[in-house]
Amino acid sequence: MSDIEIIQDKCVGCGACLSSCPYGAITLQDNLAVIDDDKCTLCGACVSSCGFDAILIRKDQVEKADISDFKGVWVFAEQKNGQVQSISYELMGEGRKLADALGVELAAVIMGHKIGDACQDLIWRGADKVYAVDDPALEHFCDEPYARIMADLIKEYKPEIVLGGASTIGRALIPRVAIKARTGLTADCTSLAIDEEKRILLQTRPAFGGNIMATIICPNHRPQMATVRHKVMKEAECDKTRQGQIIKKSFDKATLASRTSVAQVVEEATNMIKLTEADIIVSGGRGMKAPENFTLVENLARAVGGAVGASRAAVDAGWLPYSHQVGQTGKTVAPKLYIACGISGAIQHLVGMQSSDCIIAINKDPEAPIFKVASYGIVGDVFEVLPALTKKLQETCGK
């Protein structure tokens, strides 16, 4: 059995590991760290915290899968109505970089119905090959056939890396594929890199609400799979001179079968930009006081071409639908600019937006915690600041 050990000769009793343990499993006894097996989950957080290499996790020698003939980088490309989604362009951009670092091909896998143009588009976006599965049964995303097909293709062509979006679809599909392929999957990565010496993928992602970052590898299984957070990687440029190969694949009835079916697709009537797609988000909280005051937030969002978000307090009050909620029980966002209006900055809200590049906070309480993460904090009344800010931005952006 694998286990964790404190190497007593090395442990100096500094206690650094105590505060690193998310489970409170480490105590100091006689100036040595002691791990409580009843609490420890072998998560490994303490290992990196120890400056003296005194903590060792021993993993039993496991059978290594034969990984030598896995080659190439794959992107699972999402499409809607034949249009490749922006998250997939981001994956193509990142996938191209990884493929070039490894000196291998980049391929995209796309499924749907009537997706010819999308295949061509993927080549312009950097794919050397596109594996396309076009079938009426695949028109809407369906977990089971999509997962079977993806796993079958992986088995046949053996890519070493497979990337998907950390979107609603990616987060439903890719985990099932990873189980079928008996390989590791790292969720929601914000940075990917190749360790050139070992030819492995270094996958970095936030955990504990962005309070810590973890770098994860998948050393003994292939493909190495990761889902990637929207809006952190750069979209691949469209180069219409690029050449590539489209490989059409078809599958039998059993593979295409599904026990779920989409009866209806409802697009919620908003002409507003989607939260997860937005470069700029303007969010309102309880400080907006009433639903009708959200027009101030919307006006500002319009002036800068942004999306509208909300704190849980505003959503719970029924001022905006849940789909707008940012935070621990809502969406995690990381736009270039986040403007928080009348939001106090409770930790549950902060974990959903604190990795935004630039944060503007508007709050009349100078002690509000939101100011701690703000790049610019304006202490003032939203009902005065928002119209002034909107006007100034309209003048500047010329809208």
Binding site: Y23, T168, A172, G184, I216, I217, T260, Q328, Y376, L393
Partner: protein
């Protein structure tokens, strides 16, 4: 109807503080809670039972202290609780966790509906629900915000998407992972609290669920954490008080400089 809810005990991240001297996290004394999304899964299970009859069982994989979380579920009205606890399970990534939970559920004799939270707030992966569904070879609907219709054999549910939602028909048994919008979790009842006090979960070890040791814990996990680090703490920005027009002008200048607008 047999309903199983997978719940995870997580450290209450919102209680995590930063040590200003060392810039590291202070996690000592951080209380453990039931993963918030799993509370919605428990509530939905109780509502299904109220509508259709049957039994609600929660299952969790984790160290013995998870018993506390299971007792809390019992106090809300859950019928029974199972704890998969074995040192050999420790260090499991989502692959091994999904395998272990699925073996536990198999041992229970399966279920008509399995509910999970959308994601756990410690790992934030959202992978375990679909993973369990795959191991059990049952259909799944993720991000469920409403169960519109359900009987013994099938269900019609609403699945939240980036644009709105989809109405999805599925046969049962099925896995649903739920979002916050689905309901408002109830508080524990007095009767529930009484029951929870003396309640002890059934504890199963690896051998009890016939788990293959190659598939559990650290050994069964394809992924390894190689490094954990604290992201750079956001340095405080500029706080503007006083004249609003001046403040607004400063901010807009700053945005221009940063080439955001």
């Amino acid at each position: 109807m047999n309903i199983v809810v997978c719940i995870k005990q997580v450290p209450d991240t919102t209680d995590v503080r930063i040590d200003p001297a060392t810039n590291t996290l202070i996690r000592e004394g951080v209380p453990s809670i039931i993963n918030p999304f799993d509370m919605y899964a428990i509530e939905e299970a109780l509502r299904l039972r109220e509508k259709l009859g049957g039994k609600v069982t929660v299952i969790s994989m984790g160290p013995p202290q998870v018993t506390e979380a299971l007792k809390e579920a019992i106090s809300m009205g859950v019928d029974d609780a199972i704890l998969l606890s074995d040192r050999a399970f420790a260090g499991a990534d989502t692959w091994a966790t999904s395998y272990t939970l699925s073996m536990g559920i198999r041992k229970m004799g399966g279920a008509d509906v399995i509910l999970c939270g959308k994601q756990a707030i410690d790992g934030d992966t959202a992978q375990v629900g679909p993973g369990v569904a795959e191991f059990l070879d049952i259909p799944q609907v993720t991000y469920v915000k409403k169960i519109e219709q359900i009987d013994d054999k099938k269900a019609k549910v609403w699945r939240m998407t980036e644009e709105g939602y989809e109405v999805v028909d599925t046969s049962l048994p099925a896995m649903f992972t739920v979002v916050k919008e689905i309901n408002e979790p109830r508080l524990p009842s007095l009767k529930g609290k009484m029951k929870a006090k003396s309640f002890q979960p059934t504890i199963w070890k690896a051998a009890d669920i016939a788990a293959d040791e190659k598939n559990i814990g650290l050994n069964g996990s394809p992924t390894n954490v190689v490094k954990i680090f604290t992201p750079p703490v956001r340095s405080g920005g500029i706080i503007l008080q006083g004249d609003i027009n001046e403040a607004v002008a400063t901010v807009v200048e700053g945005l221009k400089e940063r080439q955001i607008i």
